[in-house]
């Protein structure tokens, strides 16, 4: 008997008979009605905050009578129905003058309105990245972290590091379909624009979001990555900061420059090679070390997709595979697999 058949039969045998519950349907309707009344009461109590949340909303929504009611600021109940988290807005052009939400909007509130039920981490003013799914857990904690950041010191005489780095936006989604977007820069003085204010400490919401997303993934049910195909070498997708070294690789391609011509996929890893990568307990060297030669000397690179839909890119430079933007190196076994695929 196969393991799967053994499990099927075992589960069928294990489940007890359900108790008699003749009024399940009526009880459910009563529960839904009570929940809606309680939500309505909460909205009245916290009306000002809810109005603020709706007023800031950048997305129009239909007045669907079946749409779930907006949760009040005290979040008395869970959402009555699932709703789509916000989509990422297009990233601003690098050379364009900053406008809201990447610059303060005097008409917007100075903090993230209460009641958000989802959040998406999106590319902003800076180096791009891509996170495949939305956060739908611990949104209140993330909101509190953003709202707890201090106002930035905007004194032009205060020097800021002239480094470059990631720019991000967090789009908070509300049950009525509206959004509230904050915009942070993980470089310079680490500013983050929150409605009408500019605050400092942009690293904190970034870290909190990624930590919460990883916890959400560990919960195993909520995450919704759909893209599990390694992109080709011409349209390589930006890296995901949510990827972890222990994540399982499910697809990968190895790419190389071909003369002065376009980049081309050299080799899509076979199932056997993917299995080798996937079975490695950690596929990054746990001891990060600086590379001995500059990464721009790379001629070969790989794009891998994790089980969570994260895309990560590794460059091969000076015989070492390393994650772009990090100092993590592929461990020796993973490097052997990639080298083999690259014909090195």
């Amino acid at each position: 008997m196969s393991d799967e058949q053994w499990l099927r039969e075992g589960l069928a045998d294990a489940v007890p008979e359900p108790p008699r519950a003749p009024d399940r349907a009526r009880s459910a309707r009563d529960l839904a009605t009570r929940a809606r009344r309680r939500t309505a009461a909460a909205v009245v109590v916290g009306g000002a905050a809810v109005v603020a949340a709706v007023a800031v909303g950048a997305t129009a929504f239909d007045s669907d009578p079946d749409a779930p009611p907006a949760a009040g600021p005290t979040e008395v109940i869970e959402r009555l129905e699932p709703h789509d988290p916000p989509a990422c807005p297009p990233a601003p052009r690098p050379s364009s003058e900053l406008a809201p939400p990447d610059a303060p909007d005097p008409d917007a509130p100075g903090g993230v309105p209460a009641g958000a039920t989802s959040a998406r981490l999106c590319a902003g003013v800076g180096n791009p990245f891509d996170v495949p799914e939305a956060l739908v857990t611990d949104i209140d904690a993330l909101t509190a972290i953003v709202n707890g950041l201090p106002e930035a010191d905007l004194d032009p005489d205060v020097p800021c590091p002239a480094d470059l780095g990631i720019g991000y936006r967090i789009a908070f989604g509300y049950p009525d379909g509206s959004q509230f977007i904050v915009s942070g820069q993980r470089y310079g003085c680490r500013p983050i624009v929150v409605g009408s204010t500019t605050r400092s400490g942009s690293d904190h919401p970034w870290i909190a979001f990624i930590d919460a997303l990883r916890s959400q993934r560990d919960s195993g049910v909520v995450a919704a990555p759909q893209d599990t195909v390694a992109s080709d070498c011409l349209t390589s997708q930006p890296d995901s900061p949510a990827a972890r070294p222990a994540d399982r690789i499910i697809a990968a391609v190895v790419c190389e420059h071909v003369g002065r011509g376009p980049r081309g996929a050299v080799h899509e890893l076979s199932d056997a090679e993917i299995a080798q990568l996937a079975d490695l307990p950690r596929w990054f060297d746990p001891e990060p070390r600086a590379l001995s030669c500059p990464p721009w000397t790379r001629e070969v690179w790989a794009i891998a997709v994790t089980e969570w839909g994260d895309h990560i890119r590794l460059d091969r430079a000076c015989g070492v595979w390393s994650v772009v933007g990090e100092t993590l190196r592929a461990d020796s076994l993973a490097a052997q697999v990639l080298d083999s695929a690259a014909g090195q």
Binding site: V15, G220, P225, T228
Partner: protein, 174 residues
Amino acid sequence: MDELVVTDRRETDDGFDAFVAARGDALWRSAWLLTGDHQLAEDLVQTALAKSWRAWSRVGADGFEPYLRRVMFTTYAAWWRRKWRGEQPTAALPESAGRTVDADAKHDLVAALATLPRGQRAVVVLRYFEDLTEQQTADVLGVSVGTVKSQASRALTALRSSPRLTSDEETSDE
């Protein structure tokens, strides 16, 4: 106009009632495998039904069960994430329900199942109890097919190596 609204509402309720009568026990069985507890299973079913009821007319009879199943599994994840057990959503408690009957959960396979991470447990219930395909399971959980495969593989390995089941098999072999 009011009469039309009342008629629509009655048809919605009738359809919903018939669905719950036909599928309620099946939902409860899956909920029990997720929670390992009679009352929590009933609470989970009730909450999922309450969240989904208003969607009946919009989703339609054919699409309602997948919709409801997704709500139930998402709710299950949210409950455990928030460690929320306090509220008793059922208005009318089912007969014979109570913690004492959960001696059923002492079944070795169920006990081993309870040690799995929630995601793996959800995949096991959907794939091997509800007999959904990998794609259907992925759709319910909102994850990729690759994730379903890897979670199912890990779950099977963990269950097969569970000391409870190993000792049980060794005993039965003797």
